[in-house]
Symmetry: C2
Subunit: 760 residues, 2 copies
């Protein structure tokens, strides 16, 4: 919203500033009176954030580097200086680092990949790589192989289906996949599942290079030698230390043997730049790739599998290394055992200016402002826990180990986990538990976009509206546009998959969680996980003046303050119920579509249509036969969703009536109930084949990675043709939703008859 | 269908071959007895076709070249030799040829475009270009301009909408557009309409170069210096000689002054290769283009409009030149005044091996086989007219002038026009009047695919089925797949737009017409209209052994024989009625979608959504406001379609009952009625603003070019926001369909009461 000269709110704020209205009461009457948020805003300083960024990104700060530890200690010192009760918590994790790497084309010609990122003119940081590790992917499997090369596009499941049709096998071969379309780690995982001997992952200029934007230093896109590092541990089974699933990786924790850890790959993998990759891709023969597989290198892309051969060798140091989480608390005044957690990691892959420092400095600015508020006499009702994680990059190690180590306490105390990570110029992107959808809309309406002066919510609405008018907009985009255009409706937040530190909280512990970021304007991910994600890049291209780090601090900070200070829980459950109803419809449609596809394909295999449609002059093969799809009994889920909608409506109605007048004890119980409610979604059972993931509504997809799969027990069972699991998880998920509805009913009872709380 | 060893048909064929069954009777009982088709097949010789191709493509054969005339005379001699009554008919047409061409980048650096196509190693023809014209586009407007350069993607209407949003104007500038997405001539036309001073059209490797396939000579794709020539006369107003719209360009015809011809452009235009274009594109600055605008050159594509400037100059010889149509006839035995017309052009842009010679040699093979059948005693019931057109390439000149010159006679005698043009390996592509859909399916079922041994229909069905299973398949593709999978249903044929010699027959005279081609396997159009469309290219890459020219002769020839020899018309009108019903639904949906879009956009313009969604660091502009869309009275069309469906059903039913037993006189009247029926679709009125186009069902789109717009009077009025025209053409089109239905009713009457025919 644009600023108005003098409104009721402005009047109240002015009186508040003059000390005429005590802080507590200004907050209690929210809706009419901003408020704490404005005092908080005034304490945020973008210049200070810029200074922290410069310091934290002055040297490579990957896990185990001296500068990463120095950053942790600086953060600790700052927290203490700002009045927080802070300490560093250390874990001992398996963190392999490369000893030697080789990648060569050996036939039909020879070429040795450089595997290095030379300095960029005008970017002094990019030359300071003495303490950096060679570019690599963590938790690949060491090895030394020479084999024919096959191009597998993005290396996703459907790409292997296409390879079947092209008549090409990757068995015993080295695959070369481009980054994009799905999580990095799935590329070597799927290659390994299909019998490949090794995997190369490269960044095609079509996806984040010159085709998308001008290359750095002119623009934000990935330069010729830019390399994307990252983790390829099998996150879909569990994140965190590969040797201590489910428990904290403390010094004496019981550990798996490395060879027994199911998340470590068995084949060697290396990431390369397109400057290196082009030599390999140009050498491939065989069929010309389908249109969707074409990148933007000035070559004809072929599938390969013939004469072109590569030599790939990786050797690593597989020792345990210490990691340093900074934990800082301000105890709550009325409910010290209710924790509002807020985190962002501090380790990067090299300098990590955008990822993670742009979010880390927002977290620091919030902590400083809150410290000052406390010094000024404000106290959070509930305890604030600020967390600066180490070792997010290799596989969410710092957050996962801490959450596992303190699981029992967190299940008793955790109210919410609010995460940020990299951010940049542009639009708000909020994903999380759908009970938080409304409060996130409220917060977004209170933060002003530095570029346009409109509220962040207004700008996001505009973006969704315009996206919905794009030719070829999906039905979902059109629906989102319709919602965005209606000011009486909240815009939707997305579900969380994985890729940052919220995972253990949301998916393992079943706590409400949200991830907040800005972006979409300056940045196409062109320096993501490369040595070029520097202070120079960030402050010249991604977010000059750190105006969006500042906005992120306003946004996340406001959400923290809402939870810390409000007299009643900010959750609204109708949003969750509606969302789950939509997910159920999707799953039902999925089953029907899959059934139709299998029937159609069976006929086509019988009539020989695939064979007749092939060009006989080219290699080809038959598609894998699809399994016939039975009809499923979705009734338990349908009934559960029906009840959920009713219970949610009753709760939201009761809350609207009672929020302002709840007795303190009832409010306290109601806050505790929000945690219990969300926890019903994550019973001990866990997902089939990957029981670390407990949440039955939100999970990273087994074959999408970072992207979320909602109702994963049911949806993935159907996708992966495990019909018994589908039936089983309909029942399990329905039971969880029934329990969730039961908690809401309990909330209604609490609000309507506060005196019965003792009898609960 | 695969061959079977001994079936009833084979038995009949054997008896027929032994002379036990007279040809006539074998034909009369079709359905059970192939037939004339097999005798015809046996007279086709692919080797002979290869020889003709070599001769006809030995030298450049563009309009006005000595070799083009020599080809016409060779074709004439062959027809005569085969017993046809043949002659050459000459017209005098405006055909500009380039005198000088210049294209230079003048800022920020200098580069002079080569504008030439060097010889390709291993392709001797490509070096024989002494008699070729410089690469150019016909009917551009001579000029000499120097101006800033703007990249406009494909240069289509929606690209100019996008330019609005990017805040870029082309006024006074030179646009550079890539080939593709719509007809070539629309690019300079739209540029001119938007105030541009000149236009460059280039072939991006994404669309037909190395990104799509290996470049020639390795593969079929356009090599770096390959240039696509073509016509840019405003075909959407009328094709043929720009100076003689509606009349034959005979020596003494009344001609427009060149400056008054509305189809000649006013701005200079040149086509260039990507090797030349890259220098211009790399020089552009301004905004990075949207994702859909990216080509595959190894650069970041920018919109330009700033510092990069080009100098473009074209000067032409605007004299009249003679063209040579070859016309050959075999009179019909029972109905000499009923003409079955079959054509293919003989002029190319340079050597023209695929376009048009691959189709021309099929036509010659048919003519030779038919000549032999006649020598063996067979006679067509109706007159055959074989037409080898000149000057198709500059703008369908040979066919249009002939059709205009003989319009009165053709409206009395023409039963059908069957067209072919370039062809290559792959799948049947048939487009035309939908009353012909069933007979085309029948013919396709009788021709064997040389690659798979299946029938051409079976292969086409398989292709459609597989296309329907592709991820992202359109609803239309899915529907086509469903139809293709059902052997009891005919596959759909497409509607005709423009781009080859059927246009005057179908769209000006209102005769039934069809265009037939094979393709989709070897060829991505990479040598289309370039100096590399040579015999070497064609016989090594596009169709070794000319097996698909052979198949095309079988297909087109069979259709000719069906019309020449059958006792009853092959038309089936239910297909037409259903198709028109579908088109009407599309038009209604179009109106609704456009209404919704206008309402949505109006709201968004009001709330400032477009502004808020923009990146303020980049140039941008508001979209042009859409006009509010009223509701239209579609009832007249709905009623007409209802009646049409009933009448068509009655006709098809009657024909099925009576086809085998029609008295000769009734059959003759019924054939004449098929022409009259189709002619009702093309009343004198014509389309709004382009009255040369009479057909109310099929027209080339005013803003798509080659692609068809169906129900064009109504559809384009809605698209172009001419609301009054929409209402007017609902009525006009409905009246035409009512008249069509009336003719069908007359047909039913003829069949049921043959004696009443005299009273008609």
């Amino acid at each position: 919203m644009r600023k108005t000269l003098f409104t009721t709110s402005a009047l109240v704020a002015a009186l508040f500033a003059l000390g005429r209205i005590p802080a507590q009461s200004a907050v209690e009457t929210r809706g009419e009176t901003p408020d704490l948020g404005r005092r908080f805003d005034a304490l945020l300083d973008a210049n200070e954030m810029s200074g922290w960024m410069k310091t934290m990104t002055a040297e490579p700060n990957q896990v185990g580097s001296p500068h990463d530890r120095a950053n942790a200690e600086m953060v600790l010192a700052l927290f203490k200086q700002w009045g927080w009760d802070a300490h560093i918590e250390t874990f001992q994790v398996l963190y392999p680092t490369p000893i030697s790497e080789t990648l060569e084309l050996t036939a039909p010609t020879r070429f040795k990949a450089t595997l290095t990122e030379p300095p960029i003119p005008g970017d002094a940081s990019s030359a300071r790589t003495a303490n950096a590790l060679p570019a690599y992917v963590a938790y690949q499997g060491d090895g030394d192989v020479t084999a024919p090369l096959v191009y597998v596009n993005y290396g996703m499941k459907e790409d292997y289906d296409t390879l079947e049709r092209l008549g090409v096998s990757v068995k015993g071969k080295i695959v070369i996949a481009r980054y994009g379309a799905g999580w990095r780690g799935l590329k070597p995982k799927l290659a390994q599942e299909h019998g490949a001997a090794g995997c190369i992952i490269y960044s095609d200029p079509r996806d984040d290079g010159y085709s998308a934007e001008d290359e750095y230093p002119k623009g934000p896109a990935r330069p010729p030698h830019g390399i994307q590092r990252g983790s390829v541990a099998d996150m879909t089974l569990y994140p965190g230390d590969p040797l201590t699933p489910g428990i904290g990786a403390t010094e004496n924790a019981q550990r798996l043997a490395i060879k027994d850890s199911p998340v470590i790959l068995k084949i060697p993998v290396l990431p390369v730049s397109y400057a290196d990759a082009q030599h390999f891709l140009a050498a491939l023969d065989g069929r010309v790739v389908p249109p969707q597989w074409r990148g933007s290198l000035p070559i004809t892309y072929h599938v390969g599998g013939g004469a072109a051969k590569a030599h790939l060798a990786v050797k690593s140091d597989w020792g345990l290394k210490p990691i340093y989480d900074v934990v800082a608390m301000i105890p709550g005044s009325s409910d010290p055992d209710q924790w509002i957690m807020r985190g962002n990691h501090h380790d990067g892959w090299v300098f990590g200016a955008e990822d993670p420092t742009s979010g880390q400095v927002a977290l620091l600015a919030e902590a400083r402002a809150i410290g000052t508020l406390v010094k000024q006499g404000w106290r959070p009702k509930r305890t604030l826990v600020y967390l600066s994680w180490d070792a997010e990059e290799p596989m969410l190690l710092g957050s996962t180990e801490w959450a596992e180590e303190h699981a029992d306490e967190l299940k008793q105390k955790g109210l919410i986990y609010i995460n940020t990570d990299g951010t940049s110029r542009g639009f708000l992107n909020a994903e999380g538990s759908h009970s938080l959808q409304h409060v996130i809309n409220q917060v977004a309406s209170e933060v002003t976009d530095p570029e346009t002066g409109a509220s962040m919510l207004a700008r996001k609405r505009a973006q969704l509206e315009v996206l919905g008018t794009n030719p070829g907009a999906s039905e979902e985009a059109k629906e989102n546009a319709k919602i965005a255009a209606d000011p009486s409706r909240d815009i939707r937040i997305g579900p969380l998959g994985s890729g940052s530190d919220y995972s253990a909280f949301l998916q393992h512990l079943g706590l409400p969680a949200v991830n907040l970021a800005y972006g979409g304007e300056a940045n196409v991910g062109g320096v993501y996980h490369s040595a070029y994600d520097t202070d120079e890049y960030y402050t010249r291209i991604a977010d000059p003046g750190l105006r969006y780090s500042h906005a992120l601090a306003q946004t996340a900070g406001r959400l923290v303050l809402r939870f810390a200070d409000e007299p009643a829980p900010p959750q609204r459950y109708g949003d969750f119920a509606d969302t789950v109803g939509n997910y159920l419809n999707e799953v039902k449609k999925l089953a029907d579509a899959k059934r139709d596809a299998a029937e159609l394909q069976a006929k086509m295999l019988q009539t020989g249509a695939f064979h007749l449609a092939d060009d006989p002059n080219k290699t080809s093969g038959m598609p894998d036969a699809l399994k016939p799809v039975p009809h499923f009994n979705f009734a338990p889920l349908e009934n559960a969703v029906d009840r959920l909608k009713k219970s949610a409506k009753a709760y939201d109605t009761a809350l609207a009536a009672h929020a302002a007048s709840l007795p303190a004890k009832t409010a306290s119980e109601l806050f505790a109930l929000t945690r219990e409610t969300e926890e019903t979604l994550a019973p001990e059972t866990g997902l089939p084949g990957r029981t670390w993931y407990k949440n039955l509504i939100y999970a990273p997809g087994a074959y999408t990675g970072y992207s979320s799969k909602t109702l994963p027990g049911v949806r993935e069972a159907i996708e992966q043709e495990r019909w018994d699991d589908a039936d089983r998880y309909v029942a399990i998920t329905a039971a969880a939703l029934q329990a969730y509805a039961g908690k809401l009913d309990r909330g209604v009872q609490l609000m309507n008859s506060p005196n019965t709380t003792a009898a609960r």
